[in-house]
Symmetry: C2
Subunit: 268 residues, 2 copies
């Protein structure tokens, strides 16, 4: 079986997706609410941009690789007749998107025989692209190109930690997250997919989240691993399943955080 | 007394400041810690970029307007021998900066007789500039230029709310902030100066913070007001003093949030 180079095809997907999304960014168009009226907790925005971008990418994949499977946030699952399945999240960070902020992106992941083998995070507004294949990872942005590499960090006490929002943890998970937060040097909220790319860039040491879907994380696995980092579930199992996920640039910090996340004296 | 057009001079300041800052962004250079070793609470990062940019801007101001005053985050206060004082924060959002994230910027404010009259927020990495003079406000970015205008929002229940981090409130302030958060439609953390610019852009309805310094807020006042919004202290007084600040796109949301922030049954 030959190895296919998907990188230029994924570049085309990202570019087409970006063209579909950008007309909706920072405009009054395209705001939707899947969950209907409700309080802050039930607010689940999704935009026309999301749907337009996923429709575009699905069509391009069907045309190029008709036997590949496709899993997307908006339009569900198309079964594979081969080893390959694409996992798409046109706008990861929809709340960042609808508030005009910059930490959102398009996630394009490729699974082979159930394992993530290629991934891209594309931010079309800032023209930034983070790409990885598990063995290497690369960045392209408005100020140039460079390889991505995590940074060493010996101790959690020296680590910078990110999570999208503490409100996204269930109560027991929040107590465990707080234990890690108290041990870390610095915590920042907000970020979605962008935070994981900062781990791959050697700018952040740790991202801890819960309640993720596979499409939130599959594309990020080959980027983190390609940059020399580690990404797993809180149980140490594969991150690609989604759920509770931890990404670290340094194995030692990953291990120290896992110990706290799985401590026996659960306060939740 | 003639009115001086400061906008092209401020453009020059922003450009020079950006050239001083960018070499330090997403590199291992320039990380400093004013507060020495300590836990997450005492971590107060400041970079070489901060100092280099402020030094550059101070020199340019002294050369062009030797009798103007200057207040900067890094190098203190130079008294004015005229009505004008510049208020500079080279990197607002230093924690965002050192984690490689995008929501930081250079704040350049100008006070006349104690009142903010001109302000710019410049993000040199994304090449975005938000500018206002209290009567109007403008955006320039990689995808074009446009005037800035707030959006209407009748009720807090429909409002999107931002704050940099709930950990930045003192306990009593946090309880009051939580009351507003529970009433709002959507809350996002992270943002620093960028969040205020999203109020001016009509993307966010409300920003509530505490513990600000004048250099964190002076430049933002003419942008918010120029876009049709309102920015005050929690007591309704001038925001330019710093401290506890609230910015809103719509007067009605501002009033409803102020009522909750000043409720008699203080839980803190």
């Amino acid at each position: 079986m030959t190895t296919i180079d998907f990188s230029s095809f994924v570049d085309d997907l990202a570019a087409a997706s970006g063209r579909a999304i950008l007309p909706f960014f920072r405009t009054a168009l395209g705001i939707d609410d899947k969950s209907g009226p409700g309080g802050a907790m039930s607010f689940d925005p999704v935009t026309e941009a999301d749907r337009a971008a996923e429709r575009t990418m699905r069509q391009m994949i069907r045309d190029a690789f008709p036997d590949h499977g496709i899993v997307g946030e908006e339009f569900g699952h198309q079964a594979a007749r081969s080893d390959y399945t694409w996992v798409l999240d046109p706008i990861d960070g929809t709340k960042a998107f609808i508030t005009g902020m910059l930490h959102w992106g398009t996630l394009i992941g490729l699974m082979r025989a159930g394992r993530p083998v290629f991934g891209t995070m594309h931010q079309p507004f800032t023209a930034e692209r983070f790409t990885g294949d598990g063995a290497g990872a690369w960045y392209r942005g408005p100020h140039g190109e460079r390889p991505l590499a995590v940074r060493p960090c010996r101790n959690l006490a020296e680590a910078s930690l990110m999570t999208t929002s503490p409100s996204l943890f269930p109560p027991a998970g929040l107590a465990r997250f707080r234990a890690v937060e108290q041990a870390a040097r610095l915590t920042r909220y907000g970020g979605d997919c962008y935070a994981y790319c900062m781990v791959a860039s050697g700018q952040v040491d740790l991202v801890i989240e819960a309640g993720l879907k596979p499409h939130d994380v599959v594309a990020l696995v080959p980027i983190i691993e390609g940059a020399g980092g580690i990404i797993t579930g809180w149980d140490g199992g594969p991150a690609a399943r989604g759920g509770a996920v931890i990404a670290a640039g340094d194995m030692r910090v990953h291990q120290q955080a896992l110990t706290l996340l799985n401590a026996a004296n659960d306060e939740g």
